[in-house]
Symmetry: C2
Amino acid sequence: MFLDEIARPDDVRRQNRRLVLATLRRHGLLSRTDIVAQTGLSPSTVSAITTALIAEGIIAESRDGDIIANRRGRPQVALTLSPAVATVATVELALNLVHAVLFDYKGQMIAEEFHRVSTLDAKSDDLIRSICLMLDNLLESRPPNAGRLMHISMGVQGVTDAARATMLWSPITPDSNISFGDALSKRYGVAVAVANDCNMIAEALRWIDPEHYAEDFAAILLSHGIGMGLYLKGKPFLGAHSSAAEFGHMLHVPNGALCRCGRHGCIEAYASDYAILRRTSGQDEKDQPAQDVDAATYNEIANRARTRDGEERAAFRKAGQAIGSGLRSLYSLIDPIPVALVGSGAAVFDLIEDELRDVVSGTSGWGAAQELNIRCYPDEHPLILQGCMMTSLLHLDTQVFAPGDASDTPIKRAI
Amino acid sequence: MFLDEIARPDDVRRQNRRLVLATLRRHGLLSRTDIVAQTGLSPSTVSAITTALIAEGIIAESRDGDIIANRRGRPQVALTLSPAVATVATVELALNLVHAVLFDYKGQMIAEEFHRVSTLDAKSDDLIRSICLMLDNLLESRPPNAGRLMHISMGVQGVTDAARATMLWSPITPDSNISFGDALSKRYGVAVAVANDCNMIAEALRWIDPEHYAEDFAAILLSHGIGMGLYLKGKPFLGAHSSAAEFGHMLHVPNGALCRCGRHGCIEAYASDYAILRRTSGQDEKDQPAQDVDAATYNEIANRARTRDGEERAAFRKAGQAIGSGLRSLYSLIDPIPVALVGSGAAVFDLIEDELRDVVSGTSGWGAAQELNIRCYPDEHPLILQGCMMTSLLHLDTQVFAPGDASDTPIKRAI
DNA sequence: CCTCTTTAATTCGAGGCTCGAAAAAAATAG
DNA sequence: CTATTTTTTTCGAGCCTCGAATTAAAGAGG
């Protein structure tokens, strides 16, 4: 609701449709009366909206799985999102791996495919071709009652321009400025969202634990690289131009260790897995780091750090300092919001926690009283997947199935 | 427009009233036809809204200062905001100084008062008493045709909680947690906004140069302390809890110089005027800094830095590094947005620019191509004043004069 | 087995809103 | 003094939400 936007009467219906769809998505199975209670809309309005949604095939009455029987009056009839009204696809692009999944409109997985690709040698066309091949396969093999493909969400490890659905730069491939959005959109005729995997993680967290990850929070991914997904004012913050929130490339030590981005002193150059490896393998911090660190090696180092006080432990301490320094700056800029640490770095939180806390708290000061609000999620992949799925589904809920006039809604042309 | 908000038919009118008021505020004198062109609303709607606004006394036809005559058809009649429908008050609270001003609804200054107060010795009650005294004076002496006081905006040098209209901490006074909002609101019976002066500067910049300071930008105040006002997605970013955006207290050097906030290594501890003075006067960086640095001393140091290469020049270099380091982190988090440097630090930009650029650009990297977008505004006070004024007036435009049903609008009860 | 009670959902009219088309208003041109 | 031109208002159609009344569909009880 901006100051330079004009409001029309049907915007009201649009917004209230969104509201109904959002409550149905959260609660799964709801009677009209429940929707009235949840939303605050009047029964008449809920009736009008739900009959329209049913007529358009977006939601449906679910006779069998009834809510509560054995009550006195007329029984409530449960409503639920129609799984078959649409299919969405998610693509996770990581180092040497592409993971594509199909979901129905209710969020149930339809089909899934993993594919190993040597991303470091792949040109942009190779990547796009791989992805399309996988999607074609998945779409071909899905059951006949599945809905039309209506949205694709990509979570990529790299810097993205969300507005233009483009991957600007990524450590996993030499090509830059890859317009996945354009390519996929042209081929499949649907809208495509391309965002950093951290944005997807944030989206997932908000869905999983809305109590804790409410209006403002950050998801920081500590793995091969270091990224951040930010939620501000209840909306994903995708930066002004690029997808931004490059937590890993905030400055930690001026003219410090060499980062994979080519600059010096970034947080990532101290706290990522390649930074840990570089340090514990006796390399200089100005040396070019390894491009791929396998999990076994990383865990080996972590275990050694846990058992004895040596170079390994020192490396994780350094990492803790770097992350703490970034957190303190983050907290200075946008308040001490809840933070989720995700990925391999979250599995070694015990090794970095002390230093991190020291740096964040500094020494007293007006903002030091509140304690850290940090939670750890060692496995990032389920979160990225779920985040992509929710991105697509919410897009359908709010953008595609929202318009007030049903006449031009894509469902009519679908299936 | 949030996903959990319910829309009602009169919200449409509310939003379109806002739109009309916003265009009138920006352009000053506009015919109904002009408003149609500017907003995209239909002539019928504009007619309906303007007649309502005129009936409520919020806007008025301005017969004399007509727009364009000498044209063929029926002449346009100019509309303008009614100055007399409301008065707003602004209060700027800085070290040893309180500045209070009254404006009419059109934004014209009615009365102004400066007051020297020893803020460093003042308890919260003293400050509140001083402010009330000034406001009482100003309100008493204003012309009889002036509108009722309807809003107060305070810009304070310190950390604020905008939601609770409270000053949490300030370097200018020993008391903390001062609820200026509650006190003034109770006394004058109007809404009160309390924000950091940097937020006010950002508000002013957006008003002064909307082309350049559009959706996303930052205003960084370099004077006694270092603060920042952020605009994100076209809205002032007031942080999650406190007013946040404490650019000056981002971490520059872990365990570094003592900052006035009590912690160590903040940017402010290197780049504020007291940091410059501390360094050039041969003190240790861990020493408690001066509480007040007068402008003459500061200029003296700057001049010496310009004329010869000594400790002074080094101090400004250090300051440039600190600011650059913060900017790089800021750019990492929220993209390279336009930045305004405001205050005494902006007057010595020539002394800090080189180092600042060096640190920001690092050494190449994927985000280094774009050049810095920085403008300087040596005098912060006019900006703070205008920002306070705009905060109050926009509050009236969007919150008070916006509600669709005119019956309960405060104007009816006013005067 | 039939009626009463209770709860759910729909229908209908009132009162908003915006908009397009037509009408009214207020000037200049000839 | 009339025709033309431009601005502004008026009026009806078609949205929207909401409250009240109505209809629908069960269980409870004699």
